[in-house]
């Protein structure tokens, strides 16, 4: 594995430079919050921040995207065009938890039987640069409980670690290697730096004090679909989609058509298991009639169904749903409460 050093003050400039001829997604400050955005001219990417409010899944799986365009013809309609040919891109400044989310999303979208062409093309053409959390930014972080680590390189092509004066860049994949070559001649990191990094990684993991049961509660979930515990989880839930929209691993979507005059498009847009309409059938029957079933679904999908199918929990412990839930429904507490049952 190649390692390089980048002078601290040079990094934002390098990224800005990269953005001149490549599509770069990076965290930027907007009013009170940090968001991943397409880095436009004169925009300064952040290298020091907690985490972005939105999860970076948006770049591979946009909140809304046109899947195809069609034209009305004399007899019916015809497919006109399927968008594709997405540009090469760099996704800079992803926290290790969010980078790991791509590994989980790949299970769904890179399914061997049905590969999702929209997600996969963007995914393959994007180089992901993640930033290790030297000090995990929030008390709501719990990546270590979900199989992650503040220094994890899962899902990343390059991992950057803040070493004080320099960024230590670790190439994880060939894609990452190529990107670093593009950034110019960078010095290699010596063993002392690498040893120091190992030490910092241990330190960072120790700073995460929240412990959330993950696979430990799976046996309980296997047996207790009808447990009265589920009656209490959703109380207070507004049935908004904040948790699912900000979640880096939630991937449910809707497909709808829009037409105007003789043209139209088929779009896919995020949907949420928190919405009553999500499962309602034309007949009026709804398999998940109340917020109780919907909450159970959200939790079960992450902690049981996904584990059954892919042997991984569909949660990376970023804590967004905990921090931004308007009524403070806390997935950590739900897991902890289950562990006590």
């Amino acid at each position: 594995m190649e390692t390089r050093l980048i002078k601290k003050e040079l990094l934002p400039g390098l990224i800005k430079g990269l953005a001149e001829d490549t599509l770069v997604y990076a965290p930027v400050q907007e009013e009170d919050d940090v968001f991943f955005r397409v880095l436009e001219k004169d925009m300064e990417p952040l290298a020091e921040f907690g985490n972005a409010k939105n999860a970076p899944k948006n770049f591979f799986f946009p909140q809304a995207e046109t899947m195809m365009r069609f034209m009305k013809k004399e007899r019916g309609s015809e497919l006109e065009r399927v968008p594709g040919d997405f540009p090469e891109a760099v996704l800079f400044g992803v926290r290790p938890c969010d980078a790991r989310s791509f590994v989980l999303l790949d299970f769904v979208f890179d399914d061997p039987k049905y590969r999702d062409p929209y997600y996969m093309e963007r995914r393959e053409k994007t180089t992901i640069v993640s930033l290790a959390c030297v000090h995990p930014p929030y008390s709501t972080c719990f990546c270590t409980s979900m199989g992650g680590h503040p220094f994890s390189s899962d899902g990343a092509d390059v991992l950057l670690v803040d070493m004080g004066d320099d960024w230590l860049a670790e190439c994880i994949t060939d894609k990452g290697e190529k990107l670093l070559e593009k950034l110019g001649d960078l010095p290699k990191a010596d063993d002392e730096v690498l040893a120091r990094k190992e030490e910092m990684a241990k330190q960072a993991a120790a700073e995460i004090t929240t412990s959330v049961p993950g696979k430990e509660i799976k046996p309980w979930l296997d047996e207790n679909f009808d447990h009265p515990f589920w009656d209490s989880v959703h109380v207070g839930c507004l049935a908004c989609g904040t948790c699912t929209y900000l979640c880096p691993t939630c991937h449910c979507f809707d497909i709808t058509d829009e037409a105007k005059d003789s043209e139209g498009r088929r779009i896919r847009s995020w949907d949420s298991c928190m919405y009553w309409l999500f499962t309602r059938e034309t007949s009026g029957h709804n398999p998940r009639p109340s917020q109780k079933e919907r909450w159970r679904q959200r939790f079960m999908h992450k902690f049981k169904y996904f584990v059954d199918n892919y042997d991984a929990i569909a949660c990376v412990g970023c804590g967004r749903c905990v921090r931004y839930c308007p009524v403070n429904i806390d997935i950590r507490k739900i897991a902890q409460d289950i562990a006590k049952l």
Binding site: G241, T242, V322
Partner: protein, 335 residues
């Protein structure tokens, strides 16, 4: 404040043990130090879960409506003569009681289906303002000390004047004491500053048209269509919202900017004469959209045109549900 909390718990315990209510909606301590979460209790022993502090923000009238309607729905297959009423108790500050007034005016439920435990209110903390005051530091512990909030962060502790981080809605609140109630707790709270209520709107009205449009579009651009604003709003109780209707489909479900603008225009306009300025929509919005700037305009016009203030009294119906032969019509085009 602690005293009020104690009395609240006492009243809640009494209501539940005397079976005067089937459920009681209040706030409990959240898992984060800056959160009080809505909770629903049904047993007297649970009364001690209730809290009352400046983090109690979301308008609880929404839950009253939800509980009563869920109960009604659960009885659709019960014979009419066997159906029961569910009486819901609620911890209600001024804005919450005004929302209940609106529900009652709009015949959503009967007065005897709700027991209002009125609480005087000195305002709640807008989390966005708290974070701004902390300049990005994460609050690890919060404690109210007199008129200040003492916040512990990783960088040390900080004392912030609560007045400086109160929700905008609270700062200019006209009804910080309940307008109707069955039980009252504590002494009436001193008035806030309603005189400045429309300053924001007045200033905005004086901007050039295109600047107003630019601001509107910039704010709506933040919206991610999570519908938290709609779902927390006690006045948004439609069973099927127009954004969810598909035959015909009024608004596209994607994040097309025009669709988002139309969604917000119509949701906001549905609040004409019905918005009590509780600030819940602003407080729950994960993106910080300035919804109040637009909702408050309807409030202002409602008073200006029809001398109506939403939910002020049971006798005064919502302005768009009424009319008068003498209504102003200076907007009518006469060629």
């Amino acid at each position: 404040m602690e005293n009020i909390e104690k009395q609240l718990r006492e009243e809640a315990r009494k209501l539940l043990s005397e079976k005067k209510v089937d459920a009681l909606v209040g706030y409990e301590q959240g898992t984060l130090p800056y959160q009080a979460a809505p909770c629903i209790i049904t047993e007297p022993e649970e009364a001690d879960r209730l809290v009352w502090n400046p983090f109690c923000s979301v308008n609880l009238a929404k839950y009253v409506h939800d509980l009563i309607f869920q109960h009604r729905e659960s009885q659709t297959r019960t014979k009419p003569e066997d159906r029961t009423k569910k009486v819901v108790g609620v911890i209600a500050r001024g804005c919450t009681t005004r929302s209940i007034v609106i529900h009652l005016q709009e015949r959503q439920y009967e007065r005897n289906e709700v027991v209002i435990v009125g609480v005087p209110c000195t305002g709640y903390i807008a989390k966005r303002k708290l974070f701004r005051a902390l300049e990005g530091a994460e609050p690890l512990a919060c404690a109210v000390e007199g008129d200040s909030l003492k916040v512990e962060t990783a960088q040390g502790s900080k004392s912030i004047l609560i007045r400086d981080i109160l929700s905008d809605s609270c700062l200019t609140c006209r009804y910080n004491n309940p307008v109707i109630s069955d039980i009252n707790v504590g002494e009436p709270a001193p008035p806030m500053n309603p005189d400045g209520e429309y300053n924001d709107v007045d200033a905005f009205e004086n901007l050039p048209t295109d600047e107003r449009w630019a601001y509107f579009t910039k704010e709506m651009d933040k919206c991610i269509r999570c519908y938290a604003c709609r779902n927390t709003c006690p006045s948004c109780y439609c069973k099927v919202c127009f954004v969810e209707q598909s035959q015909p489909r009024w608004v596209g479900v994607s994040v097309d900017e025009s669709d988002t603008q139309v969604f917000q225009i119509m949701r906001i306009f549905h609040q004409a004469g019905r918005c009590v300025d509780c600030g819940s929509c602003v407080e729950v919005c994960p993106m910080g959209v300035d919804l109040r700037k637009f909702l408050k305009k309807l409030d202002k016009d409602g008073f200006d045109l029809f001398e109506h203030r939403a939910g002020e009294s049971l006798e005064d119906p919502p302005p768009l549900g009424a009319f008068s032969t003498y209504d102003k019509e200076d907007f009518i085009f006469e060629p």
